[in-house]
């Protein structure tokens, strides 16, 4: 059997939203005047609604569009199509590239740490738990440690983004468009390799070959981005010899 308060519950929800019909509103407010329990319900529903709207928002990772674009190409979408009003010029690309440099530098540090831990799990340190017979403690400690490192890297990433936006907007026209297109294409190929490695790692988190493959792709991307930024600097300075030297190195790599 429905109690009087239960009969008002849904209307109180609509009152919290501000969507309750005026005709119903008076009846609900009359009940609230003498029912502390329903007043508490209204206050709580309003608090939940308010807090839900203030939850932090996540940004999709820069590599996600690369993955989607690769998938769209396999479905027949062409790169030669129309303009891109959402990403005018090369600003977004350079922002993503510059951000990726920071992420990958951090990633390189992480990679070396993770690789060290992965290669020598039998070497305990003062900060790692002792191994048990099954090795589960090592695996758990490793996962927790890596997660902590990734969280720290994410914070560095967010701080770096603000500064990199200025760099990206200032340097977007430094490169010859043809060179920029070639470099972008190469980066997309490496991003695809990174995405594949991450997919493999998700299905087999303990796989050493998958981890090595990911770090190798990350190292290649870091190297290419470092060369790209050096190239931007040389082109902006008008140093033809330096530009030619870097381009020659890029063609060999």
């Amino acid at each position: 059997m429905t109690t009087p308060c239960e009969a008002f519950s849904a209307s109180i929800g609509e009152l919290a939203d501000g969507t309750l019909a005026p005709a119903e509103r008076g009846r609900v407010e009359a009940h609230l005047d003498h029912c502390a329990s329903c007043r508490a319900l209204l206050a709580d529903l309003e608090a939940i609604h308010r807090e839900a709207r203030q939850l932090p928002r996540a940004e999709p990772p820069a590599a996600l569009w690369t993955r989607i674009a690769e998938g769209l190409r396999t479905q027949g979408v062409s790169d030669g199509g129309g303009a891109n009003p959402a990403h005018p010029g090369n600003t977004k690309w350079w922002l993503a590239a510059a951000a990726a440099v920071v992420v990958l530098i951090i990633g390189g540090v992480l990679a070396s740490q993770i690789t060290r831990r992965g290669v020598t799990p039998e070497t305990p340190s003062s900060s790692t738990p002792p191994a048990n017979a099954s090795g589960n403690a090592d695996a758990t400690g490793l996962v927790e440690s890596v997660e902590a490192d990734l969280e720290a890297a994410e914070k560095h990433y967010e701080r770096a983004i603000a500064g990199l936006e200025k760099i990206a907007s200032a340097d977007e026209r430094s490169l010859d468009p043809q060179v920029a297109a070639t470099l972008k294409k190469n980066l997309e190929i490496i991003d695809s390799a990174i995405a594949e490695s991450r997919t493999a790692l998700r299905s087999e988190p303990q796989s050493a070959p998958a981890r090595e493959s990911l770090f190798e792709a990350l190292r290649r991307k870091m190297s290419l981005l470092q060369d790209t930024i050096a190239l931007m600097n040389e082109m902006r300075k008008g140093n033809q010899a330096g530009t030619a030297q870097i381009l020659e190195g890029l063609q060999k790599s």
């Binding site: 969507t19 999709p60 989607i68």
Partner: protein, 182 residues
């Protein structure tokens, strides 16, 4: 606030037409307009960023495959949200088949005040509580209370009536209230 970020039906129709012609730039524009909101919905629907990335990717690829079925009756953003949420709910159903995904019943919710979530730690509790909602109620709550869609839009995304949308949302809020006071 609604899910439409490409302003105006004419602009939407023009963008859809360019996407139908297979222009990568048009898809990148589509991604730029909607990926942020879709990714947030996906994160809270599935509970982790890695699955959310896969879901957003599949939603955009499916959008390309199904673009001919978009008639413009609903806003483009609503149509994309619907693709994403349907894929997400399908995924959750298959995941539930593989794992013992505990979903508490929605009945017998007590009416007891709880301490309002006002600190970061309590917001994390709210996130955890959202993740523990039954799938259908969670989708309604995320779309309405977190993303700010109105009930007409939520109903269109979920393929239900506005009354069902209101009912699912209210059940979700009562369940959250119960979990947060524990």
């Amino acid at each position: 606030m609604g899910p439409s970020k490409v302003q105006g039906r004419e602009a939407e129709a023009a963008l859809v037409e360019r996407c139908r012609r297979g222009e990568m730039g048009a898809f990148e524009e589509l991604y730029g307009a909607y990926a942020g909101r879709l990714y947030n919905v996906a994160c809270r629907l599935l509970g982790n960023p890695a699955d959310a990335e896969d879901l957003v990717q599949e939603a955009f690829l499916q959008a390309h495959r199904k673009l001919d079925t978009f008639r413009g009756n609903a806003a483009l953003g609503t149509w994309l949200h619907r693709l994403l949420v349907n894929l997400g709910l399908d995924y959750l159903r298959s995941r539930a088949g593989r794992t013992a995904h505990a979903t508490a019943g929605m009945e017998d919710v007590n009416v007891v005040p709880f301490t309002r979530p006002e600190t970061v730690a309590e917001r994390i509790d709210l996130e955890h509580a959202i993740a523990r909602l039954p799938d259908g109620s969670r989708a309604a709550f995320v779309l309405h209370d977190v993303e700010g869609l109105d009930h007409k839009e939520v109903a269109a995304v979920l393929g239900v009536s506005e009354g069902t949308s209101k009912s699912q949302l209210h059940k979700a809020r009562l369940k959250l209230r119960e979990m947060l006071r524990q």
